[in-house]
């Protein structure tokens, strides 16, 4: 019997059926070479950054101040990308900074989206009073000047590092996801299959997260990807303004903020340019991937 079943499954696979899920995404990426290239590039970059930063580079050695080697030009005496005003290796800082920036962005994305998706689904599923209540809270949060509040909190909080930054930024990032998920969940939760699940005695919780959530996945994948690109930018922007990470913790933003010094901006390009290019490439790449995913989620826009 088991053998026979296996056979029928195989037979079925040879039948033609409309492309589903991952197949659509694959086709879309095959058609869009730029997105394909970006995707592979980002993955390679991230793996490289994490591997080099975690195992190959010694953080202590990189961050050691060595005034004799101050402003060494790239390629001279073992400094691949030169050294900064304190004689610290720029390549090492770039890699560690990229790792920190990516970690922060990933953590913010996960945190903000988990909260946003959970709330959005609950609002959309129950509707009525619960929906109204949380929507008003979201409206309130959206009207707040996010940047100002983050800057104030950063100034007030005494001990301040990567974790604190993640929580502060995430606290202002969940609203848009919640709103988006809610709007889709509102229409999806009124479908018959949700009622059908109810008639089977399934609990609300199980319906929301096992029945409803997968049906929002196409929307969510796109949203999360584009959010990720945005979050890389936010952390960098804050650090650039001097409200992100302390200088002892390198991130792409702190590296770019060296360019605030006019001398460095005009004559010591190797200090700020690599980080800027890395940010540009990262955000562009993630956006291209996100757009390809968005097209594959919407049959009208598909290329493949």
């Amino acid at each position: 019997m088991a053998n026979k079943n296996k056979k029928t499954v195989e037979n079925f696979k040879s039948e033609s059926s409309p492309p589903t899920g991952i197949q659509v995404v694959l086709r879309e990426f095959k058609k869009d070479k730029l997105a394909m290239f970006s995707f592979l590039g980002i993955i390679a970059l991230m793996v490289a950054v994490f591997v080099i930063a975690s195992w190959i580079i010694d953080k202590e050695a990189v961050m050691k101040i060595n005034l004799i080697e101050r402003f060494t030009e790239p390629g001279v005496s073992g400094y691949i990308l030169g050294a900064d005003e304190a004689g610290r290796d720029m390549f090492g800082q770039l890699i560690i900074g990229a790792k920190n920036s990516l970690l922060i962005a990933i953590a913010i994305t996960i945190l903000a989206n988990v909260v946003g998706i959970t709330l959005g689904i609950i609002m959309g599923y129950y509707g009525g009073f619960i929906d109204n209540f949380f929507m008003r809270i979201i409206d309130f949060f959206i009207t707040l000047p996010t940047l100002m509040i983050i800057i104030v909190v950063v100034t007030i909080v005494p001990k301040y590092g990567i974790t604190e930054l993640i929580f502060i930024i995430a606290a202002f990032q969940w609203m848009s996801t919640a709103r988006l998920v809610r709007s889709k969940a509102l229409s999806e939760a009124r479908r018959d299959y949700i009622s059908a699940s109810k008639t089977m005695g399934t609990s609300d919780f199980a319906i929301m997260f096992k029945g409803l959530l997968p049906n929002l996945s196409s929307l969510l994948i796109v949203e999360v990807t584009l959010n990720f690109a945005g979050n890389v930018g936010i952390e960098t922007g804050l650090s650039f303004l001097g409200f992100g990470l302390p200088p002892s913790t390198p991130s792409l933003g702190t590296l770019i903020s060296y360019a605030m010094n006019p001398i460095i901006l005009s004559s010591k390009w190797w200090i700020w340019l690599p980080a800027s290019i890395l940010i540009l490439v990262l955000m562009l790449g993630i956006n291209y991937v996100g757009q390809a995913l968005r097209r594959s989620a919407d049959a009208k826009q598909r290329l493949g």
């Binding site: 499954v9 089977m200 005695g201």
Partner: protein
């Protein structure tokens, strides 16, 4: 036709389901009393907007308590389903009561495999482990006449044909061997040949598990084929209730007679399709007193209707609302009482 037990399985008493429109509650199901016995198929017929589906969804508690008020009694096992909380209801739904939806494509989760969807009820109501559930799913699929069950269990709803999807819906409804099955227009979304198959299936499965079925439909052909008893609904009220043979042989209420009259006859020489004048009044404009059908038989004298139409017993198990049936005649056949 199977043996219909006299034991009452489900008793609905004075059920009123009202929807809130601009802070006023308008009853879509008004003062409905019905009983369902074991191994019986009770058909509820009526045209669109009569409250049939609202009645069905009231029984399984699919109404939002903020926008809908369900009053009266729906008694099952000494429990009033109208007052149950969600948690209490979840113990009954899928286990004691099964529900079959009208459109199987929209009632199946597009992103869940068929097998998982059938197993859903088993997870909550049985102590079967994963292996046993899988076996039960295959058994259920075979029971509803799906030949390569193991393949179908691994497929998604969009990969199945309409008839297969409805079979899957039935398998889901049957998974808990429910005492009551509520089928809300189970054949409407299907073509005629598949309809017949699905009806046969429903009937044969009922013989097996001896449950009572409430069949909501507007297709009198379906009713004649499988029902034991029929309740005709109009504008939220039951206007006639009778055993199926009695209803078709001896319809009393003007609405029932008009409905039967409007079935197209292939052998008839009359090329005109018979229709019922006007339409079901909307929920907000519904007359709250007097005979609700009077607006659609304007040629009858006002005095033939009762002031407060009640159900009158006119034969064994045959109930008719209002007295206007005694004076009813079809408009174009004026004078002949028998139509």
């Amino acid at each position: 036709m199977g043996f219909v037990s006299t034991k009452e399985l489900l008793t609905i008493r004075n059920l009123r389901t009202s929807f809130r429109i601009k802070d006023t509650f308008y009853p879509a199901v008004d003062d409905v009393s019905l009983t369902l016995r074991k191994n019986e198929i009770l058909a509820i017929v009526g045209e669109s907007g009569c409250g049939k589906s609202t009645l069905a969804t009231s029984i399984v508690g699919l109404h939002n308590s903020i926008h809908t008020k369900v009053e009266g009694e729906i008694l099952y096992n000494n429990q009033n389903l109208a007052n149950l909380t969600e948690v209490q209801f979840n113990k009954l739904r899928g286990n004691d009561i099964g529900f079959i939806f009208q459109d199987p494509l929209s009632a199946l989760n597009p992103l869940m495999r068929i097998g998982e969807q059938i197993a859903e009820g088993l997870i909550y109501h049985t102590k079967l482990n994963k292996k046993q559930r899988e076996a039960r799913v295959l058994e259920l699929l075979e029971q509803v006449g799906i030949s390569n069950a193991s393949r179908v269990a691994n497929q998604f709803p969009h990969q199945l044909s309409g008839g297969m999807r409805q079979r899957v819906m039935i398998a889901i409804a049957l998974s808990g061997k429910p005492a009551i099955i509520v089928a809300d227009e189970p054949t409407t979304a299907l073509d005629v040949t598949i309809q017949a198959q699905i009806l046969d299936l429903l009937k044969s499965l009922q013989d097996e598990i001896q449950s009572g079925i409430i069949l909501i439909t507007h297709d009198l052909g379906v009713v004649a084929e499988i029902a034991d008893r029929v309740a005709v609904m109009y504008a939220g009220e039951i206007i006639e209730e009778a055993p199926v043979i009695e209803l078709f042989r001896n319809p009393k209420h003007p609405y029932t007679r008009s409905l039967l009259n409007s079935i197209p006859q292939t052998h008839s020489e009359n090329e005109k399709l018979e229709i019922i004048q006007g339409m079901v009044p909307s929920l907000m404009k519904l007359p709250r007193e007097g005979c609700r059908f009077s607006s659609r038989v304007p040629w009858l004298d006002e005095s033939v209707h009762e002031k407060n139409p009640k159900l009158h017993e006119v034969g064994p198990g045959h109930l008719v609302r209002c007295t206007c049936w005694q004076h009813f005649y079809f408009e174009d056949k004026e004078g002949s009482v028998n139509g």
